[in-house]
């Protein structure tokens, strides 16, 4: 083409240099993205564990209630009602036959075109359920109630620990947390086949909460459980508990999907969850539990406990039952790399157990492997403790689109684990690496900003201590120190700073800028310890308290209950509000016709009180 040989050689030299340059540049670009992806992960995980730490806070409130109820208005009917309300288990007034008849008599309208289950279940029923849920249909409440009731009866006769053998089947498949992600369950069934005599499954807890299809998941799992009782096994997770469901969304999901029968379903679910077995053992060699172990665990002792009495609310009320501690350990513990066994401060329950604890327990019972779930892992699974512990997690994209893969593990008679990974993708067009990182990062940063906002007054007070001259700015170092100590989240704050707060012209951080962009259109309230912020910080707790008081899950509480709760909560928080104010406010709220309050009005009440208090202060 008219190029001399030397020109070609020269070009070749240049092209190599150009290639190296592009490669060098691109690898650096990818590393930068990888860094963002990693700290995004850290943010999600820290916030998740901090949320579970909040459970401790709620717990202290309940203790406070217990300690104080005798001092409130003497032994008035209000308080006793409230407390016993919270602790009593609901006794089923109907006999088994009567209850079954009651469900049979529920009329399903002709217009309903979803699956109609018939008991005992057959493959037709499970197939119908799978198709229906793929089409986004809802199973009629009648069948859900019947399914839950049958499941409860079935689980009652199961032991605490199930012993399995691989001798009859080729391989057993073990899945981890699903957390309401139906797409992941369907993907597992698609890749690995449906449960059957030739294809046994163990699901290791945390079927519900967080994801939006928890109801569908448990319906499918329980249906297969009834259909293949010898080949389908479910372990209890820490989220198979009423208190967790109140906080993390399952209760809300049920009440929204089943307005008529939701309450009854939730009652049944409490029983069903508490009756789920605690552990599974394969070939007397492999132990499978949801959380982990501790140095207190003894499997023989665990086989004897009354597992249906092991409820989180007893932990919250600090009712210490010896066996409860062991059960909490099984459901909540996490492995760590250092030796020893220490309390799991992140979770507020259970332990951190080291490789020595694992070794000791496995040896004690002649086991060789522990399989557990409970922690999200980027690759869907992880080995630790010299391969003696496997973590298996089956909800892909758990924190956000693209955050992690899901996985399941298969064990054959030689007990060598084989791992299978997958990732559900919502978009048809494949996102680039950059896009995936941005989506996840955006989500994490929004969550962090919410946290900053919720602790605004504490943060501002601490910032101002460094800002002696009142310039509105402090150094990056000081900013990072304050945020870390107030939020108590161990994150790379200096690396995150560009995403959270502005720098002034002098290179220092304008600290008030980290409270901007919270909810569009919402004005930033004045900086005093105020109820708006308190409300925001404690809104989940308030929802839980509301839901506990609203025992019959009617969505409403009485004015008296509201008054009691508000008095307790505000005195616990040290916010002084007098009786007259509460009564004024109660009257000014637009109650439903029968004089009761629903949750939104409940929340609204706190803001109204604040306005009244401020008005009082201004007038006074």
């Amino acid at each position: 083409r008219g190029c001399s040989r030397s020109t070609r050689v020269l070009f070749h030299e240049y092209s190599i240099k150009a290639a190296i340059l592009i490669q060098r540049w691109y690898r650096r670009y990818v590393a930068h993205l990888e860094m963002r992806r990693r700290y995004t992960w850290n943010i999600f995980q820290s916030i998740e564990y901090a949320g579970e730490q909040d459970q401790l806070q709620l717990s202290s409130f309940f203790s406070f209630m217990l300690d104080n109820f005798t001092h409130m208005n003497g032994n008035g009917p209000g308080n006793k009602y409230l407390i016993s309300h919270l602790l009593d288990s609901v006794v089923d007034p109907l006999t088994e036959e009567v209850r079954q008849l009651k469900y049979e008599q529920i009329v399903v309208p002709e217009s309903y075109c979803g699956p109609r289950l018939s008991f005992p279940l057959s493959v037709t029923d499970t197939n119908a359920l799978l198709s229906a849920f793929k089409e986004e249909q809802t199973l009629h409440g009648k069948y859900v109630l019947q399914l839950l009731y049958e499941t409860k009866k079935f689980l009652k006769q199961m032991p605490n620990i199930i012993y399995l053998s691989t001798s009859y089947a080729k391989e057993i498949t073990i899945c981890g947390d699903l957390h309401g992600r139906l797409d992941d369950l369907l993907l597992i069934f698609y890749k690995n086949g449906l449960p059957s005599a030739e294809n046994p499954y163990i699901f290791n807890g945390d079927f519900v909460d967080r994801g939006k299809k928890s109801t569908e998941i448990i319906i499918i799992l329980f249906a297969f459980l009834l259909l293949y009782p010898d080949h389908m096994h479910l372990n209890r997770g820490n989220h198979e508990d009423h208190i967790m469901n109140l906080r993390y969304g399952f209760t809300r999901e049920v009440m929204q999907k089943y307005k008529t029968h939701g309450r009854e379903m939730l009652q049944l679910l409490q029983d069903v969850f508490s009756l789920l077995p605690l552990a599974t053992v394969i070939d007397n060699k492999v132990l499978i539990v949801h959380g982990g172990i501790s140095d207190k665990i003894d499997l023989d002792f665990l086989s004897t406990v009354e597992r249906h009495k092991m409820l989180l609310k007893y932990v919250l009320f600090h009712m210490v039952i010896i066996c409860l501690i062991q059960v909490v350990d099984i459901l909540w513990s996490d492995p760590k790399n250092q030796s020893g066994c220490s309390p799991n401060s992140f979770r507020g329950g259970g332990c951190y157990f080291g490789p020595d604890v694992t070794q000791a327990l496995l040896q004690k019972h002649g086991l060789c492997l522990l399989i557990r779930s409970h922690e999200c892992k980027q690759e869907g699974y992880e080995l630790c403790h010299n391969g003696q512990v496997i973590t298996i997690f089956s909800a892909s994209n758990y924190y956000e689109e693209g955050s992690n893969r899901g996985a399941y593990v298969k064990l054959g008679p030689e007990l060598v684990p084989r791992f299978f990974q997958y990732q559900v993708s919502r978009s048809t067009r494949k996102l680039t690496l950059h896009q995936r990182v941005c989506v996840a990062e955006g989500s994490a940063l929004r969550a962090l900003k919410e946290k900053l906002y919720a602790h605004r007054s504490d943060l501002m007070a601490a910032f101002q201590q460094y800002d002696i001259d009142n310039t509105g700015r402090i150094s990056t170092s000081e900013w990072a120190q304050v945020v870390e100590s107030v939020l108590r989240l161990d994150l790379p704050w200096r690396t995150l700073r560009p995403r959270l707060a502005r720098l002034g012209a002098d290179g220092n951080v304008e600290y008030e800028s980290c409270f901007e962009d919270i909810s569009p259109g919402e004005p930033i309230p004045p900086v005093t310890p105020n109820l708006a912020e308190t409300l925001y910080r404690y809104r989940t707790d308030l929802e839980i308290i509301f839901n506990i008081i609203d025992k019959d899950h009617s969505g409403q509480i009485s004015i008296e209950e509201f008054r009691q709760t508000w008095k307790l909560f505000s005195s616990h928080l040290g916010v002084a509000v007098n009786d007259q104010t509460i009564d004024d406010m109660a009257r000014s709220i637009d109650f439903n016709k029968d004089g009761s309050i629903d949750f939104n009005e409940f929340l609204e009440a706190f803001r109204v009180v604040h306005k009244l208090v401020i008005k009082e202060q201004q007038q006074g």
Binding site: A19, I20, Y29, T432
Partner: protein, 177 residues
């Protein structure tokens, strides 16, 4: 003599100033390094997997080549390679790299020029096959995964070519966000 003394004190003052400034710079630099290191320190015991060293160094703003990294890692590894690098060893090495401004950034212009060199016929774009050939066969070759990932962001879906000018502007913008 008075002038001599005042000259001396001026020099001394700026020496102190310089010392304080550089001390602050060193501390800030080390804090940046510590932050980046911690992101990859999964077990919270001040060690990272040696395979993550490249990512850490690059995320701190450096543009080393694979050969450069190879040398750095050789320096950082223990006499008996454990597969992990300890923070005590990493910190001085990384501090030196940052303060000496080694492995300087590749600017947008330079990157664009590199693409123009590969575009022999001055078409204004590159075919995916062309770029793949260069980047997977020359220099420090990309793996198939790296190449696929770059193409997914670089190839214009309608014309099925790489409009490298647009690509370079977009990537450098993304990087600064």
């Amino acid at each position: 003599e008075v002038t001599e003394t005042s000259k001396k004190s001026i020099v001394t003052f700026s020496e102190i100033h310089h010392f304080l400034l550089s001390d602050t710079i060193i501390t800030e630099t080390q804090k940046r390094i510590s932050n980046a290191f911690d992101v990859f320190d999964h077990e919270s015991n001040k060690t990272v997997d040696v395979r993550e060293i490249g990512t850490i160094i690059r995320s701190l703003g450096c543009f080393p080549s694979e050969a450069d990294l190879h040398d750095i890692i050789a320096e950082l590894e223990e006499e008996e390679p454990t597969g992990f690098v300890r923070y005590e060893k990493f910190l001085p090495t990384m501090t030196k790299i940052l303060l000496e401004r080694k492995f300087r950034p590749i600017t947008e212009d330079l990157l664009l020029q590199a693409f123009e060199v590969l575009d022999q016929q001055k078409k204004g774009h590159l075919e995916p096959e062309e770029l793949t050939k260069y980047l997977t066969q020359e220099g420090e070759p990309f793996t198939q995964e790296e190449m696929d990932e770059m193409l997914s962001a670089a190839v214009d879906p309608d014309k099925n070519v790489i409009l490298y000018k647009d690509f370079v502007s977009m990537m450098t913008f993304d990087d600064t966000r």
